[in-house]
């Protein structure tokens, strides 16, 4: 048990340098812009006084180390600066937008697991036709760009069948039924590709486990395939499956940037895209930071979960 705690502690400590590197990347976003970022941001009609004022506001007139320390210090206090366009504090803006992104990616990963894992089990244990059909789904899911799949789903469900809204959003707290109606297509769009990856991993992890001698022994004892899979094989395949789900959440967060734009969902991804086109650098920084921190936290949770599922990892004998 103590070795498990040590494993968790070590893993948590490892995120500190990762967070540090990420903070430098985000910090540099505005500072690496070629030419004068403030001038680019405000446009060429801005007066010199205006430019100087915003530069001072953003702390860009200090030396780079002071800039970083001030910026990181403010970050710890939850102060992300304010939006250049709306002048609203960015922390408030993120608080409004993060729930949308979390709802989208959360529902998508749940749906992807609900599709991918059972199909993966069928693919590993089923006959030739099951294998072919699931392989077809994998190739389809991986090769179709998610945003095009989304467009085609809109064409089908909005254009032809007219049963779902093409885009838009209502907060869950205001109207749960309509919130879910708006979420169906974006969630489905994101989930299909992820389900394909999860299916593929479940299939190969399970196939690997089913080849091991202890499974042959269980078969010889007369256990049914169903009991072998649910009682023994799946537990052994779980670390690999959980690892891939964790990696796929990163991919999902990236995919959400496009899907939010496509379905007009007011999430963090759309915030970043709009901010880039408006050259609203502080908002870009806040959005990138929010998504990156989410990604790092999810990776941390995944690794700890894998450690708990696979005693070899937390004992330090594997990896």
């Amino acid at each position: 048990m103590t070795s498990r705690l040590a494993f968790v502690a070590r893993r948590v400590l490892l995120t500190i340098p990762v967070l540090f590197v990420m903070s430098i990347v985000v910090f540099l976003i505005i500072r690496l812009v070629p030419g004068d970022p403030v001038r680019t941001m405000l446009g060429f009609r801005a007066t010199d006084a205006n430019v100087a004022e915003v530069r001072h506001q953003l702390g860009l007139d200090q030396d780079i180390l002071t800039q970083y320390l001030n910026w990181a210090g403010a970050l710890f206090r939850g102060d992300l600066g304010s939006d250049i366009v709306s002048h609203a504090p960015l922390s408030e803006l993120l608080a409004q937008r993060l729930p949308v992104t979390f709802e989208l990616t959360g529902l998508a990963i749940v749906l992807a697991v609900a599709i991918g894992v059972p199909l993966g089990i069928r693919a590993a244990t089923g006959g030739r036709w099951v294998k072919r059909l699931t392989e077809g789904f994998v190739v389809f899911g991986i090769s179709i760009p998610d945003f095009w799949l989304g467009i085609m789903l809109v064409l089908l469900f909005t254009g032809t069948l007219a049963i779902l809204p093409p885009s838009g959003y209502v907060p869950f707290a205001d109207d749960p039924v309509n919130n879910l109606r708006y979420m169906i297509l974006p969630v489905l769009t994101l989930a299909v590709g992820e389900a394909a990856y999860i299916l593929r991993t479940t299939r190969s992890a399970l196939t690997g486990v089913l080849d091991r001698p202890f499974i042959t022994f269980l078969r010889a004892k007369g256990l049914s395939t169903r009991r072998i899979v649910s009682g023994h094989a799946l537990r052994n395949a779980a670390p690999a499956i959980v690892t891939v789900i964790g990696i796929q959440i990163g991919v999902l967060l990236g995919g959400a940037i496009i899907i939010e734009t496509l379905f007009a969902l007011p999430g963090v991804g759309r915030l970043v895209v709009t901010a880039i086109t408006q050259r609203n650098y502080p908002a870009v920084q806040a959005g990138v930071l929010a998504i990156a921190v989410t990604f790092i936290v999810v990776s941390l949770i995944t690794d700890i979960l894998v450690g708990a599922l696979d005693p070899r990892v937390s004992d330090g004998k594997s990896t």
Partner: protein, 290 residues
């Protein structure tokens, strides 16, 4: 369990000949598809029936016809011609990005895998930093800094894939370096550079080529995604992702504006995927590439 499946367990059915047959099928399929797409893209100026940027008011949202096989878009531009030119940009950006990434990743992976110790630690840890952000977010961060455009998109994609390709090259180098012919070459007095260039590199390249082909499929999707967001290839240059973005508002009235560019992306992605699978079966039976 049948006798046959038990036998398979002892001796896997993937004999060299069976593997060769299955790899040839994928290689031929993917290679032929990619060849056709490449010819279409290169010969776009000759094959396109219309000027891809010519705005024709009376052709606005025209349905597919003999004159416009894929129909025409919001500005009356010929969709077929735009798909051909768009394919050109998409293939150029994705292939050049992966190529640049491979050219940088191969020597880095070779050095890390061959010398190990601090050389490996320095190279691997530095490249790991790139993986701190999800791929799409990193690409967007690049574009936020340098501004939108296909060259920036290609650069971003090249940087994103660098750690993946270098890691595959490193693993494959580690395996090759343990071989007796490498130890033998060193024992005969060959210098490190000579051993790396003439013994290790040629034998370690297989998995990287496989990975590069697989990544080209992802690069294509990434480029299309960025152009869809308006952050990749800039109008009026036709791009497959940009076309999908332009046609969103007229999706129901004129679905052909959205269907054909999307299909072109899917076919190109499939071509790279099949090619990658064929190459994997031929050059990377042990599965070093991810």
């Amino acid at each position: 369990m049948s006798v046959q499946t038990q036998l398979e367990r002892v001796a896997p059915i993937t004999t060299p000949r069976a593997r060769r047959r299955s790899s040839t099928r994928f290689l031929l399929g993917g290679g032929a598809l990619l060849g056709v797409l490449a010819i279409l893209a290169i010969a776009a100026p000759l094959l396109a029936p219309h000027d891809p940027e010519a705005v024709v008011v009376r052709e606005v949202l025209g349905a597919p016809s003999f004159d416009h096989p894929f129909g025409s878009d919001v500005l009356g531009r010929d969709v077929l011609s735009r798909v051909l030119y768009g394919l050109r940009v998409s293939l150029l950006v994705s292939v050049s990005a992966v190529l640049v990434s491979t050219i940088i990743a191969v020597p880095l992976g070779l050095l890390a895998g061959y010398f190990g110790r601090w050389v490996d630690t320095t190279i691997s840890r530095t490249l790991d930093m790139i993986l701190v952000l999800p791929a799409m977010l990193l690409a967007i961060t690049f574009i936020a800094i340098l501004g939108p455009g296909s060259a920036v998109a290609a650069l971003a994609i090249a940087v994103i894939y660098l750690p993946i390709l270098a890691r595959v090259m490193r693993s494959s180098t580690l395996i090759v370096t343990r071989n007796e012919f490498v130890v033998g070459a060193r024992a005969r007095g060959a210098g490190h550079l000579r051993v790396i260039v003439s013994h290790v590199a040629p034998n370690a390249m297989g998995p990287v080529i496989v990975q590069a082909s697989v990544l080209s499929a992802f690069a294509l999707q990434l480029e299309a995604g960025l152009s869809f967001l308006g952050l990749g290839t800039q109008p009026p240059t036709p791009s497959l992702g940009g076309m999908l973005s332009d046609g969103r508002d007229v999706l129901v009235q004129a679905p052909w504006v959205e269907i054909f560019p999307g299909l072109a992306i899917v076919v190109a992605v499939l071509a790279f995927t099949f090619l990658g699978e064929g190459l994997r079966r031929a050059f990377d039976p042990k599965g070093v590439a991810e």
